[in-house]
Symmetry: C2
Subunit: 357 residues, 2 copies
């Protein structure tokens, strides 16, 4: 039976990197007989400009009907002043929430060919391979009540609610422990249980979930310490599991440790394994339209999709090997090149991956 893949290029460099990822996806589709059907739709600022909303009904309907979604990136300064519910980011947040994509996997992996790009000393990051598992449909991102109100004394007050229920914590816990079992067998749960009540519950539930995984070791760490430890000695971690807001911050810090955020894919999964796949980097308005963006994170997001949703590990491995081969050949887009090297363009990079395949 054919599987449906929805392509959401998004804004700025989104369409540029997506074009290359789609070429790669179409190649493996043919070569591995995957029977994938590709559809396209608008999201983010592009959708807002075209039809007045960052998540059009048509896009959401197509997303619901798909087995997997490949997203480029959304956002840009030209939409900084639109109302909050119309911002490009609402398209992304709406998809996560409507499709219940609660499990966000953000690997921070150092490519040996790019070791020099890290801002950390080489010995601290050589072989780095962390997986951040971030809860993506709850916490303070979606908690109610929220808003800006006027107090009796006339001044305004902004407020948001950080909230998690046991079942929300439990399901992200099981995801993290299951993933840890298949790799380093260690989970570090990050909270702020010395201050925040909601993370007291988080810590309790994680400790309960751990009982189902006697072969996996659980530790707990406060978020401030986790931010420090990522800078000090990142290789101490295997899987990190945390809530939406802390995960946003820590996964970006962890990604940056590798020095090549333009290389890092991500997955956002629901409870049945359907998912949205996207690069960790953003829409990079500053370099859009120049054909210089790095398409590898999006291409590697295709590989993650093949692995986690479509269950085609050989096709995924083929893409990952092709990316590695291209790096071995010394090809670099501007974001990952050393001073001396001549960068290749977005499409040259995509072409090189296709050839390596």
């Amino acid at each position: 039976m054919s599987k449906k893949i929805l392509i959401l290029p998004g804004d700025h460099i989104g369409p540029e990197i997506m074009a290359e990822a789609v070429r790669v996806l179409e190649h493996v589709n043919a070569r591995f007989d995957l029977d994938l059907e590709l559809e396209h739709a608008l999201v983010g600022g592009a959708a807002l400009d075209a039809v007045g909303t960052p998540l059009p009904d048509d896009t959401l309907a197509k997303a619901r009907a798909s087995d997997a979604i490949l997203l480029g990136a959304v956002g840009g300064p030209e939409w900084d002043n639109v109302e909050r519910h119309l911002r490009p980011e609402r398209g992304l947040l709406g998809l996560r929430s409507e499709l219940e994509l609660f499990g966000n996997l953000r690997p921070a992996l150092l490519y040996p060919q790019l070791a020099a790009a890290s801002s950390l000393k080489p010995e601290l990051v050589a072989g780095l391979d962390i997986l951040i598992v971030r809860e993506l449909t709850g916490g303070i991102y979606f908690g109610e009540p929220r808003g800006i109100r006027t107090l009796e004394n006339g001044e305004r007050q902004g407020f948001n609610t950080y909230v998690y229920s046991e079942s929300e914590i439990r399901r992200i816990g099981h995801l993290a422990f299951g993933l840890a079992r298949a790799r380093g067998k260690r989970v570090c749960s990050v909270d702020k249980a010395n201050v925040l009540d909601v993370t007291v519950l988080w810590r309790e539930v994680m400790t309960e979930v751990a009982k189902d995984y006697p072969d996996v070791e659980l530790s707990h760490m406060y978020v401030d310490n986790a931010a420090m430890q990522l800078v000090r000695a990142p290789k101490q971690f295997d899987v990190l599991v945390t809530g939406n807001m802390f995960g946003d911050i820590l996964s970006d810090a962890a990604a940056m440790l590798t020095g090549s955020i333009g290389m890092l894919p991500s997955a956002s999964l629901d409870s049945s394994g359907r998912g949205m796949y996207e690069p960790c980097h953003g829409s990079a308005p500053d370099i859009a339209g120049q054909g210089v963006a790095n398409p590898l994170a999006t291409i590697l997001s295709v590989a993650m999709m093949l692995r986690y949703t479509l269950d085609k590990p050989e096709a995924a491995a083929a893409i990952e090997a092709a990316v590695s081969a291209v790096l071995d050949r010394g090809l670099r887009t501007a974001d990952i090149r050393a001073e001396a090297e001549t960068p290749v363009s977005t499409s040259q990079m995509g072409e090189a991956v296709l050839q390596a395949l």
Copy 2:
């Protein structure tokens, strides 16, 4: 007129590092004729064990009657399972809140003598000098409602409230801009205005406050990007201003960039300049009782106190110069030494600073 200084050693290494800081404080008190009166009190786990609460009334009364407070560090694993309102951290949070110490100054400064200790490449941190200004008495740390409740379906739910009013944002804004004016003249305000309503208000008010400081440049950055930029290129920052929770995370990451968190002091100020001074590091239960903790962050906290609350810049400068001289002599506690060096003890380090004075 004499000034009152309250000494709160706290837990674990707290009393060890405090002993050295007090020797230094007594020395400058005599030498610069400061007319300081020192008092001692209990806080944190030590207070809980002695009198059943982490912030005894007597301690709070003495704190209110003081011009400045010098605190060691609180907390430890032996109190992990006490009720939340009795935890050692509540002593610290209670002092901050009761005394309205809303302005937390956390410098991240690289000592040239210790450049090698950073996990970042030397060229990225050489000369690093960032000041993080963290709001300390509001935000999600103190927001109500908070707690853990049982839902109708029987499952528990934890919740906290992230809340800021205009006036709270305005006063921390003015503090940050005033400080920036006296140094690099750049303020970067960190928020998550693309997702959190409360930080939409934060951004608006910071933009308003900036109008009073035409000579200071304001920029805005999302917290996830700020965490990345601190790892990628920390020297781009001068003053960072942010809320309580983001400030907790970012200041620890920034401190760790220097590689020597055992060197970094902090100040927590109220609107009249009274303040609490403490090292950025914690109570380090793992090395407590061995006489090996680094007292320099606490000694440098004395210098900050002399500068910000007591208005004795010469005395502050004398302490800072003495610390620098001791580092020049190659003296290092275990936390900041290179592999080959023999570490000095806590009291040897304190003694060396006294001699240099």
